[in-house]
Every structure is written in structure tokens, then in C-alpha cells.
Symmetry: C2
Subunit: 224 residues, 2 copies
């Protein structure tokens, strides 16, 4: 699903977007539209975005953060699995619940794990998943585990809402042999997109769509 | 490491075995000697078994249940990761600790995960890892997750000390597409070895070595 993806626009079902702006997002040249949010995700607002994005040819995936809002019709389903938490619900609880509720409706070929490390302790995602900030040694060991033992194809480094430390992301990238890095958090313009595209394989742009669409659209070209 | 393995003898460093009996175990034709135990594992008793088993040509692996007892010289290291627990320490705490303590001394090519489901609630391993018995639906979903999303090559079904329900192990095997089944628990003789070799890809024989070696040795041929 992600093999040719360099840029993702992430749409939050809990936020309003006009048809005109949605068209710009869908025709921006981004490689993937990912629908997902931390709270306020309902079957209604997910279905609304599904129907509206499906007018365009851009690939469309759902990030499953609430099993009640899983609906058919997406090209792919990503289930987050947080690795810097001690709360098993956010490691694989959502995944097990989703499988219990929706198997065999959903084809396993259409489901992947999103193994997350969330590094912004002020973010809603960090708080909701009871994450902790690992000391540097433990972060490195966790990355080795995810990369060399679990052999995940991708690891999602999430700064959710704020721009991460580029040196930290670069060090993470250099630690990994197998896993590619998805970076998300705070990218608002082409300069930031360019900088993070140099240290990550895929960048995710979310809030900027709602805050400053003109500059958000410019993140696409800079990440190719 | 396990691709041609059908039968494993598991030696507990915390139990005594005579040189004569150890020779019989090592020359039995088993595919692998696995050193590991739930408690009383020390650097001294691990090193003692390492030195004594290394006289023979049989492949030798260490199951890392205590990072203090990790020593070089084994062909492979398996790190248990319990999937039916809410205690993150037994999901990947031992793994992260081992990587922190021993990386880069140990080559990642020599380390694998042992993803466990422990189904005997009276066993020491079950209690120590704060495991729970999943309801049937949740067990099936967890197996789908391990098999189709994590894509583990092996899943260790552990009845630790007691013979499992053969129908349960058969149902587990039939649920899995990618993962092979390692079965451990209570196998004492050739009939039991034969029965469990029909529903599992690999059988592990442990306690019987210490309780009734003559019959334990007969489990080797029956699992080929």
C-alpha cells in the first residue's frame, strides 16, 4: 500500500472542510488521503468523508482509531499500534477489537499495522494512549526491536501537532535497517516538507490543511 | 533457525542432569537443544549447560527469560514475547532489556522472537507473566493478528507442564495461514509426541527428560 508513497494528506473526520478545499487536497498530487483522528470520529463523519473523497481518483485509507467507525469502501485500513505505552489497549487492543468486530468482512490483504512511536507528550494522541517518553537508550532498543525483530516495513514517528526535532528523526532513520520512517507532525509549508522528506521516507501533513491550505498544498511537490 | 526443526528438547538450567543422561539427550537425534526455564536461571547454570552440551554437535539455543543470564556461545537466542498478557514487561520488556544490555554484542541474525500464547493457567510461566485465558473469540482474533498482521513465522502454544487439549491446538493450527505452530507442554512418550506432531509443526519436550528419560527419548523418532 505504501510502496510508492512519499506524501500523505491526513483528513480529520471531526473537522470541517469545504468542497472546494477538499477538491484541492484530492487533486494536489498527494499519494494518499488518510482519514483518521484522535477523537470525535464517528461512523457518520467517516462515511461523509469517504463519499466526498471517492469522487476523486486519489487512493484513500482509513486509520482505525475507533472500531465503531470502521466502514467498507476504503482502499486500505491502518490500525495504530503504539510502542511507547504500557497500556496494552493501545498496543493491540484496537487491533483485536477490530478483528473481532469485522472479520471476515475485511480482507486481511487490506489491513496493515501502523506501529507508532509518539514523541510529543503534549499531544492528544500521546495522552489518550498513555504513552511515555522513552529515555534515549530505551528508544534505540525499542527501534531495534521493531526494525530487526518485528521487521516492520514502516514505523510512524508521530509528533502530532508540533514540528519534531529533525536531528532526532534523522537519528531514528539511521538506526533502522529494514523499516522505513513515516513522519507526522507540524509540517506547514514547503520548506518544512523538504527538510523532513530528507530524514523520513514518507511525510504526513494534517493540521495545515485546515489552518493554511495554500501552504499545505505546497508540501506535496517538495516531498517528491 | 527453525526451518528444519520438528523436535526440540528443552533443558532447564535449574534442574540437575547427569553427564550420562545429557549425552543421551544430545545424541538422541533431536533437532535442537533449547536451554531455558521460568525461574532459578543464572549465568552459572546457563554456562554449565552450554559447556556440557557443546561437546556434542546438536544445535543449541538459549531462551532468554532473564537478561542477566545471557552469555555468548549459543547458536541462536529466542526472546519470549507473551501475547495473552496485559503486562508489557512480558510482551517486550525482556526484549528491550536484552537489547539494551547486549547490543551490539549479539548479532541480530542470531536473535528471534518467540511469540507465546500460554494456555495453562496453573503453570509458573502463566503466573509469572500475568497472563490471562482469552475467551475463544479474542483468542482467534489474537491469532489472526499474530499470523496475518505481525506475520510471525512461528507461534509457541505453551501448556507448560501439562498436556494440552489436542482439539484446541488443532483449531489454532487451522486458524493460521503464515505462522507455524510450536507446541510445548506435557509430552512424555511416543504416543503423545505422535499425536501432537500431527497438529503442530514443532514439538518441545522438557520435563519428561527429568521424569522419565527412557520414554522422553522415544519422542524424537515419533515426531519426524
Amino acid at each position: 500500500m505504501l510502496s510508492n508513497v512519499k506524501h500523505i494528506f491526513k483528513l480529520d473526520p471531526n473537522k470541517e472542510i469545504s468542497d472546494e478545499n477538499l477538491q484541492k487536497v484530492c487533486e494536489s498530487g498527494t499519494d494518499l488521503i488518510l482519514v483518521g483522528g484522535t477523537d470525535g470520529v464517528t461512523e457518520d463523519n467517516v462515511l461523509d468523508l469517504l463519499a466526498r473523497v471517492r469522487r476523486y481518483s486519489v487512493p484513500l485509507a482509513l486509520e482505525v482509531t475507533d472500531t465503531d467507525s470502521v466502514t467498507q469502501g476504503f482502499d486500505h485500513y491502518f490500525i495504530p499500534s503504539v510502542f511507547n505505552t504500557n497500556d496494552m489497549k493501545y498496543r493491540d487492543g484496537i487491533l483485536v477489537d477490530a478483528l473481532e468486530d469485522h472479520f471476515p468482512v475485511i480482507d486481511f490483504e487490506e489491513i496493515s499495522l501502523f506501529p507508532y512511536i509518539i514523541l510529543n507528550e503534549d499531544s492528544k494522541a500521546f495522552k489518550k494512549s498513555n504513552a511515555y517518553l522513552p529515555p534515549e537508550d530505551a528508544l534505540t532498543s525499542t527501534l531495534h526491536m521493531m526494525d530487526k525483530l518485528y521487521k516492520f516495513p514502516y514505523i510512524y514517528i508521530e509528533y502530532s501537532g508540533t514540528l519534531g526535532e529533525i536531528e532526532t528523526v534523522k537519528a531514528i532513520k539511521e538506526t533502522l535497517e529494514h523499516s522505513k520512517v513515516i513522519y507526522g507532525g507540524g509540517i506547514k509549508n514547503k520548506e518544512e516538507a523538504e527538510a523532513f522528506s530528507e530524514v523520513a521516507d514518507i511525510i504526513v501533513v494534517g493540521n495545515a490543511i485546515y489552518d493554511d491550505l495554500k501552504n499545505a498544498l505546497k508540501t506535496v511537490a517538495r516531498s517528491k
